[in-house]
Amino acid sequence: MRGVAYRLAVAVALSIFTVLGLFIWLDSAGAGDQGGFKLVMAWGKTGEAPGQFREPMGLAFDPEGHLFVADTRNARIQKFTQDGDVLLAWGRSGDGQGEFSKPVDVAVDAEGNVYVSDYDLDRIQVFTSGGSYLKQWGQSGKEPGQFTVAAGLGIDRKGERIYLAEFYNKRVEAYSLDGTFLFQIGEPGRVWSGAMNYPTDAAVGEEGYIYVADAYNNRIQKFTPEGKFRDKWGGMFGWGIPASWKGWFRVPSGIAVDRQGRIFVADSANHRMVALSPKGHVLDQWDLDLPTELFSPNRVAVGPDGRVFATDTAHDRILVFEFQSF
């Protein structure tokens, strides 16, 4: 009798492992090779001089193709050509107008105005592309229209809304570009669709879909422009189990979408870049070429010519990739 029970238990265990393995394989299987990262350039080194960085975080392009980088530990924003020539740097440590404590992300609207989120000060400051201060908004708190650490910013292509990924409030908030609160997306939680756990970035695609780097749920979530949940990817059916397998994430901290709808993810704890198809299939992944204990690459942006730029925060540099379609 005990022998039968033992065999039954083994059979059940084997069945579970087989089914689970099949699920994992199906979940991690991509759509095949449809493109690939090619690192074409890296610039920047540690320091305080123009063009140097101390923990660069967020980055974004203006309509003219200039790159803006939140040089976080230097408490400033730097403006570059796409080849890495520094054009401008502004800001200094402080909490006054045009000053920063820890600028962690930048976004640029259709008119070239630069929006900067400050980790410590819970405010969004807006500047011209020349670095002149325009306005600011923000209030610390948990209520709608307040935020505690706006870790990531994303502006829609129509230039109507800006989305704030709120790290400690574990949600995304939509604002008009003048700072008026519109609505909330997601709520704190794990596993379930729409639940967020320390989100760090938001990006908006051509059709207005919002993509969220749900960092500590180890997944990417997609929402409609109205904030309704649409899809989730990573960690077995989007549940958020961390791993380094293909299609799984470990603290994806940065996200960007190109004009073809491809999604680029800075999968920071896996030390790699990941490209997804518009349906969430893995197109390619690229591993960081330097050993690091820290979480890097960290943020990502797509340039006007389709090249992909990422901040390698741990090594104070910008990585530039071509993403080639096969």
Binding site: Y119, Y168, L294, F295
Partner: protein, 178 residues
């Protein structure tokens, strides 16, 4: 005793100082004190979390600098000179609020070990704070240092009526090489 001291100091040196090359200054204008706290926590990970810890430390108004070893899960905290050392409960709350799970807290304090009717106490020179000390084997083996200026490395535990209770790991004369 010597072997134990060497082992503990080596452990502290390796765990707490390796890859902590650049401490992050919280209060640039404040004078650094000589007392330090080490917090071991789970979940130390990305820059966003590290910045969170920094934000909460800054809000306390008592911390001069900190450093974080993400791989080993250890945060080193230096107090502003003269500012009272935060109690274990508050420190754990900062760590928790920043998104981590606090585990062990260790203190490295400069002061004087004294013996009273109630047992041993440690008086911190810079702040004048006095903490109860567990009379463990380390204390018994270093009785000759009672009353002298020493550097005490100890596990800090929550205690009623005091910021924390100290469980000594190493007691060495002040000025001696660690």
């Amino acid at each position: 005793m010597k072997l134990r001291t060497i082992l503990v100091c080596s452990f502290a040196g390796i765990v707490f100082t390796s890859s902590m090359a650049e401490a992050k200054v919280i209060s640039p204008s404040a004078e650094k004190g000589e007392n330090k706290i080490y917090i071991r926590a789970d979940g130390l990970a990305c820059y966003f979390c590290a910045y969170g810890m920094e934000r909460f430390f800054k809000q306390s108004g008592k911390i001069a600098w900190y450093d974080m070893d993400m791989k080993k899960g250890v945060v080193e905290v230096g107090f502003i000179k003269g500012k009272p050392i935060l109690d274990v409960k508050t420190l754990k709350q900062y760590v928790h609020d920043a998104g981590f799970s606090p585990r062990e807290i260790k203190a490295e304090l400069a002061g004087r070990l004294t013996q009273t009717n109630d047992g041993y106490r440690f008086q911190v020179t810079e702040t004048g704070q006095s903490f109860p000390v567990e009379a463990n084997s380390v204390v018994q083996e270093t009785k000759e240092l009672v009353g002298r200026e020493v550097i005490l490395t100890a596990i800090a535990k929550e205690a009623q009526g005091a910021p924390f209770k100290l469980v000594p790991e190493v007691i060495r004369p002040r000025g001696s090489v660690q």
